[in-house]
Amino acid sequence: MQHLWLIPTLPLIGFAVNGIFGKRFPKSTVSAVAVGSVVLSLLWAVKVLAALGSLDTPHVEQYFTWFQSGDLRFGFDLQVDRLTAVMLMVVTGIGTLIHIYAVGYMAHEGGYARFFAYMNLFMFFMLILVMAANYLLMFVGWEGVGLCSYLLIGFYFLKQSATNAGNKAFIVNRIGDFGFMLALFLIVIHFRSLEFSVVLPAVSGKPEETLNLIALLLLVGATGKSAQIPLFVWLPDAMEGPTPVSALIHAATMVTAGVYMVARSAPLYQAAPLAMEVVALVGLATAVFAATIGLLQNDIKRVFAYSTVSQLGYMFLAAGVGAFSAGIYHVMTHAFFKALLFLGAGSVIHALEGEQDIRHMGGLRKKIPVTYATLMCAGFAIAGFPFTSGYFSKDEILLAAHHHHPWMYWVGVVTAGMTAFYVFRCLFLTFFGDYRGHHHPHESPWVMTGPLAVLALLSLGGGFIKIPQYLQPVLPREETAHDLSLVVIASSAGLIGIALAYYLYVLKPALPDQLAQSFRGLYRLVYNKYFVDELYDAVFVRPTVTGSRTVLWRQVDVGVIDGIVNGVGAVARIAGGVLKLIQSGNIRSYATWVVFGSLFLIVAMGLLVVNTAAGGAR
């Protein structure tokens, strides 16, 4: 026993303490509890992994039976294998850094204890998700992180847009979770179990249609949680939450849960070729689509949000072409540089007292140098600059994609170029040129810049942690193309993107507006995010709301349900109106009723006695 349960339980204790007593604690105590519980969790995870050594086989610990029905047992079982180990390190490591950062970022915000309570609760559910030994427990974590995401997006609950964004995230995720649940039902029906150790080895004997269906339904769940087409719309709006939340939940950890789940179910997907193809196509389409939207956004966090959607698309592409380990590799490197991008953006926003529009920034290079330097590291990493972390993982994915279908590689390369372009457009507009706002920028305190520096180092050097080799026993690698020219092309796409951004936004700042003028229609289409929100609004939201209002409310609720309730009331009232006449207040009439009642009883009993006697005599 390695007491795996301590890893998720420590943040849960932090949640309970801060959630119950946090209001009465001073901020320093709240921070100590929140950060301390996550740090302890990280240390315990390190200790466990060190003790477990090479982890060639999964280490499973069964704690108790959650519930049992016939021969179906669903246990509270945690497991650690190499895949979980990677996710554990990412979640607790990045989580720790972001908690430390948040101490500085949230210092002047209201609801300090509430914020950290939710963050700790999120850590608990995320750790349950990655350590679960069966699909059901994974689903518990899956739902739990969704809940925390909702709570933290709507953290500024007095702001209408924040609560709306929270609701949107929650409802869109519900759609995905519905698919996930259907998949779980199908797995129970066909495999009579939800244990990974039972289900995954058994896929070989099952019909391909069944596996395809299960895998596609799981993918529906993954598209919700990981913001893929068609359910990606909630993630950009989720930026209403505080920036550490965007970094932790909506960039580094929770949104990668879908990729983790697909990788965890790798044997299932490998036996379902159709589903694999769909995963790859969804990922690739999302990567391109979100990248084009990111090109023209002006809110610094939204640019990075679309970038997250796009990078998640890469991870799904990796999974879809069979390079699951490359997908997890990208999950890790993406966690480094995207957390850094968001935390850096948070530092910029913090410096500008809440300004998020990059058109009102500029020239911040000298004023917040640490933020500038670290954000540039993240920018180079995400652009796939040679030997940064993004370079290794992205190449791994693109080479696998080339082996699968060369055209997928080329689309991926174009996306990589766009990624580099929009990230550097954002960075150049923020840090270069002249300052266009009216605040007095100041560098963030060391609690914020410290995590930035650590993440910058990881973004640059994290690629040398060779995840695919480490995951070899769990996730066998697909054959990939080994062609140096492909690597060079992919990297140069990133460099071209950076150069183009430099040309357009540093050398010729007037040119982008002219271009926007000359391609007015296209510009408006992309700037308005292809009107996807409006389309969903017209196709799904409005019919639902109108239908609910006219049919469900005015007809069903008012007519049927209220009708039944009011009808029961009316019957009682009418009957009472008749029966009340008996209560006349006249004592003699009561007495008459009593006399006649008694007489009736006597006669009835007399008849009964006579009948029984006659029956007995017969």
Binding site: L581, Q583, S584, G585, N586, I587, R588, A591
Partner: protein, 102 residues
């Protein structure tokens, strides 16, 4: 068995009870109605005692004492009610005291 047969007691009890019922139903004065109730109770007491004597068992006597205790308590409470009713309404006609209704 010597003496008065059981049926006589029962017939007397029935007559007294019927008189009590009739008095309750037909008299207007609350006092008389009240006395009719006492009459009914005592009619029942009589039958209890008669049965008790007939079967040589003590249960009937016991019941009679219970009924007498209840009747005494009822008389105390009932007369108090009648007194307050008379003070407030200045009448004892039962047909006029009918305000406790729907």
């Amino acid at each position: 068995m010597q003496g008065v047969p059981l049926s006589w007691y029962l017939i007397l009890s029935a007559i007294l009870f019927a008189l009590g019922v009739a008095g309750f139903l037909f008299r207007r004065s609350i006092i008389t109605v009240f006395m009719s109730i006492e009459l009914m109770l005592n009619a029942v007491n009589l039958s209890f005692v008669a049965f008790s004597y007939q079967f040589k068992q003590v249960d009937g006597h016991l019941f009679t004492f219970f009924v007498m205790v209840v009747a005494a308590a009822e008389a105390a409470v009932g007369l108090a009610i009648i007194l307050t009713v008379f003070r407030n309404r200045a009448t004892l006609n039962i047909d006029e005291i009918n305000s406790l209704k729907y």
